[in-house]
Symmetry: C2
Subunit: 314 residues, 2 copies
């Protein structure tokens, strides 16, 4: 347990992989020493409700409610309301459980009352006992859109509706150029003594965060250690379409490409034992490789990886 | 089955009792010959969702989805989302099942898209296979408020939140004076060959409809038969607080008071066998009593009562 003298850690995360490491970090750090900045480029309105898939994955993971089998939603959730929505002729391709719907109903209500997404996120997390700072990357809308061989697809339509099957030629973050970093991110960028890029999809999860004006530059300026955990292990993503998209974009599907992607904001690349042979390539880029097990199946795995990362702190 | 030559019937209804008779009427009349105008004075916003309790009771009853034990909601519904909303610190005194929530989510979405409550109601009912015209009394907000010994209470807060326990001194219909009759009501008032006041609470269910500007006068002008079914049987309401409120308002709790209430829009009062002794008082008011069984336990009861009413048509 790192409880004293640890620097304030700013962690960037998207979906399931990011949430796993964030849980490990949360188990090792007191609430005041960790800010988890979460991608909102996938946010969508379904049935008039504001859905923030990555924020919810994070909240459910940290509160112990997450469905670890599916990687989304609440464990043991039912789909009664969605089935009824289907009777009303509504397209129900996006799975929303009954418990999960309550989150979206509450979020939508609080947003309609004039609260910011940051305020709403803090309130929802607190209600579920999550004390660590979980913040959206921005209170302004940013929309991740993929240009594919089936046309332009918003992230959830691509990922859930089309099961990440279309071939991707470009990823765009609509609105990012005018969106402001959330106040909590702004604050964390000023105070952070350590930056952790969780093992999330570089294009669909961390890309939107890094596309916010000034954010990447300010990350470069963080004086403490900047650590990236590769989501690519053994030539593919541990989970999700990151590997497939990298290949489609003509990039090398390896942790070397991850290091290249984050070169300016990465002092240490945490890479899996399986990729040991690539360590020299990482070193050649001036990045320190940390070779360890990055597969986080159990809570112990998550804590163990978080400890190794936190031990890198200056 | 009355299918040819029957006049267009305009039925006014509130909650459970009204929906029972409306179901009977719907079983006897083709869709084009029946318009059911439903109270919306109880409409409330819960968790940011537009809830129309009486419209929903009607829709669930006519579609065969209603929970006949409780009198509200959908049979076999679960309460998973509401339980989760409770975790977010939300007051969950108003029971909303998961299937029921889907109705409110969809209604709220369609209203937010700019549709009127009439249009939304028609769409929801059609989706559930309800072909008879179910219309809200108005597309404008009207709020039934009770002045009680515990202060001013909106209808649902009084009825569900406080289980109709506070003593009522007055019932007000906020907004009724500026609300317009829904287009469907307007149309039905022009065409109706018969008016049926279903056995609903005179103050909380039919009162708001009759408070709409011009509506009562236009009902008076309907040339066909005007029939009222007393919700008061044997000195109390068959269901709900109508009897209690009548007593608190200093009125006689009997079908005679019901006849008095609707004297100007009632040619025939349908009264229960139990109240046979009061028939002469009804006659003295110039109203024809129809003495029959008005308790509608089974679908046969509902159809039977509807047939007797429809047989009164000119």
């Amino acid at each position: 347990m790192v409880t004293h003298g640890s620097p304030a850690v700013l962690a960037l995360a998207g979906g399931v992989g990011g949430a796993k490491l964030a849980l490990g970090l949360a188990r090792c750090l007191p609430p005041g020493d960790l800010v988890i900045c979460v991608n909102t480029g996938d946010d969508e309105t379904f049935h008039g409700l504001h859905v923030s898939p990555d924020l919810d994955t994070m909240m459910y993971t940290l509160s112990g409610l997450s469905n670890q089998e599916t990687g989304w939603g609440v464990a043991g959730d039912t789909f009664t309301a969605l089935e009824m929505l289907g009777k009303f002729g509504v397209d129900t391709w996006f799975n929303l459980g009954d418990r999960d719907l309550a989150t979206h109903i509450r979020r939508t209500q609080l947003l309609a009352e004039g609260k910011t997404l940051s305020e709403v996120t803090a309130e929802l997390n607190r209600s579920l006992g999550v004390l660590h700072g979980v913040i959206p990357m921005s209170d302004d809308p940013v929309k991740t859109v993929l240009l594919t061989d089936e046309g332009e697809l918003p992230m959830q339509r691509y990922f859930v509706g089309r099961r990440a099957e279309p071939k991707v030629s470009e990823v765009r973050y609509l609105g990012a150029e005018t969106a402001a970093a959330a106040p909590g991110l702004d604050d964390a960028l000023a105070k952070a003594g350590m930056l952790v890029l969780c093992p999330s999809n570089p294009y669909l999860s961390l890309g939107p965060i890094l596309a916010l004006p000034g954010v990447r530059q300010r990350m470069r300026a963080i004086s403490g250690k900047k650590v990236c955990v590769s989501p690519i292990v053994g030539g593919d993503a541990v989970k999700g379409p990151a590997g497939k998209i990298m290949a489609e974009l003509g990039k090398q599907v390896s942790c070397v490409e991850i290091a290249r992607e984050y070169r300016d904001i990465c002092d240490v690349l945490v890479m899996d034992n399986q990729d040991r042979a690539l360590a020299s390539e990482i070193e050649e880029m001036g990045i320190t490789p940390l070779i360890t097990s990055t597969i986080m199946d159990t809570e112990e795995d998550k804590i163990s990886l978080a400890r190794e990362i936190l031990a890198l702190a200056d």
